[in-house]
Amino acid sequence: MRTVLSNLISESAKNDENFLLLTGDHGYALFDEIRKTSPEKFVNVGIMEQALISTAAGLSKVGYKPLCYGLASFVPIRVLEQIKFDLCLSNNPVKIIGDGAGLIYTNLGNSHYCGEDMSVLSPLEGIEIYSPGDPEEMRICYKEFISSDVPAYLRVGKCDNPKFNEVPLTSTKPYFTNKTNSNEICLVSTGAMLGIANQFSKEFNVSHLSIMKIKTIDKEALDHLKSFKHIIFFEEHVRKGGLTSAVTDLFIDSNTTLPKVTSYSLKNSFVSKAGSHQYALSEHGLATDQLRIKLKCIIDAK
């Protein structure tokens, strides 16, 4: 997925004279390609996240199309007010990539743990949020993300998941990766949970819907989900302000009765021990084996 992202960024640099990639001294290998092919479009502002966003706002005001890159713990978390005041208030269409979102860097400790990036951005007026889960979702999300005329955030979580979609996607709309005839249960995932949720849907013969655009979430999600009796969410993000909130808000806003809801999401807690990504997930009850047991209990009880 990172290779796809690297190539997409390099393409933007080649094809758009106003494009600029700004980083706060992060993303070394990700930018090998753009540094080789369009070095004049690559700006390392230094280790200064506030200036990263505000400089991009200024560049946007004089006609550039800046893309800011940082680790999600810092961009957007550290610079939330810059995003709110310098980007959203003036509708400066600056694009932001938050890399390493979720638990992927928790072996480094809590400084690099970021489970609340979508939560803090969701309430802001005007910003759009994308959360792709495989290289193809990344491709279609990036295409829309980079070309829209509003501020936008691209959440990049665990990136070494295998390519899931073999057929090109045509939009960022929610789509079923597996659709059964039963309306009992639908699994719903975003981002890095795409593969495992699809795997479970096949193991347990239930439907699975992937949602890659969290804000503004497409209302088709409601049409897809309202006939199910039980929706089970999977997200490597805290429950409030992420996928679960986005979908349940759709039901509330349309006066549609919510089905039974279960959310497998990050706890509102710091990471307590070092370890692998699966270990970190296990602290939140989200390791593959833990999820399988929980799902089996639900399905056996039906």
Partner: protein, 265 residues
């Protein structure tokens, strides 16, 4: 700009008109930068008086958005905002906020949340430098505002990239919201700090339009980013407000308003 009255006394009268009837505080913040605004809009900045959104004009940002009544006052003289907007300032349902926001034509950069406007100005200057544009970016900051780390991040960036098209003007009125800057966070010596960060510094009497204009001319020929340290008095021009920090917050009574009007020549 010859036929447009942008004199400090006229700008001060407009500020009183906006703040009348106890509508607004931040009078001290606005009065200290009146001469800076007068000089900028009278010619130091190259603007098209007929077009607030002219794409080729210089940029004027107010990072210390608390002084925005001084900017509104100039925009009114230019005809960019209306008499109605002045008369009804801060009344229900009106457009102008009590801190600078860039949805108002002529307010180029939002300010008020301190430490935001200058970094955005630096981004604009950087973009214009990359395009070899002749446009210059001016940005007014407060001497209290420069406590903010975000300002210094952008000072570093501007110095490194030698943004010669950037002029920061420090409204050095010696006060911030809760007291004297020297007692809270002493930022002096400002000139040496900025020079160490790659800026060319100019210090002048911030209530002398002539001195300000000389400094503005000098910044145009600098090969580095510039800072004008404008030594000012908070509440300048109104005797009972000068150096009295309560006028950061206080709103005028009718009696105070009448006294202030009499003091403005």
């Amino acid at each position: 700009m010859n036929n447009i009255d942008l004199s400090p006394s006229t700008l001060r009268k407009n500020i009183i008109n906006m703040a009348k009837d106890g509508k607004s505080g931040h009078l001290g913040c606005a009065f200290s930068l009146v001469e800076i605004v007068s000089a900028l809009y009278s010619g130091a900045a190259h603007i098209n008086s007929k077009d607030p959104i002219c794409p080729n004009r210089d940029i004027i940002g107010l990072s210390k958005g608390h002084g925005v009544m001084a900017i509104y006052s100039a925009l009114f003289q230019l005809g960019w905002i209306s008499q109605d907007q002045i008369d009804n300032y801060l009344k229900d349902g009106t457009d102008l906020f009590g801190l600078a926001e860039d949805h108002t034509p002529g307010v180029d950069i939002s300010g008020g949340s301190l430490g935001h406007g200058f970094p955005v100005a630096v981004g604009m200057a950087y973009g214009l430098q990359r395009r070899n544009s002749s446009r210059h970016v001016f940005c007014i900051v407060g001497d209290g505002e420069i406590n903010e780390g975000s300002v210094w991040e952008s000072i570093l960036f501007a110095g490194h990239h030698r943004l010669a098209n950037l002029t920061m003007i420090i409204d050095a009125n010696q006060y911030q919201a809760m007291g004297l800057t020297k007692d809270i966070i002493d930022m002096e010596p400002l000139d040496k700090k900025f020079e160490a960060f790659g800026f060319e510094s100019f210090t002048c009497d911030g209530h002398s339009v002539d001195e300000l204009n000389k400094a503005f001319i000098s910044t145009r020929s600098s090969h580095k980013p510039s800072v004008i340290i404008a030594r000012t008095i908070k509440g300048a021009g109104i005797s009972f407000m000068e150096g009295e920090n309560i006028w950061h917050y206080k709103k005028m009574t009718t009696e105070e308003e009448n006294t202030a009007r009499k003091e403005i020549l």
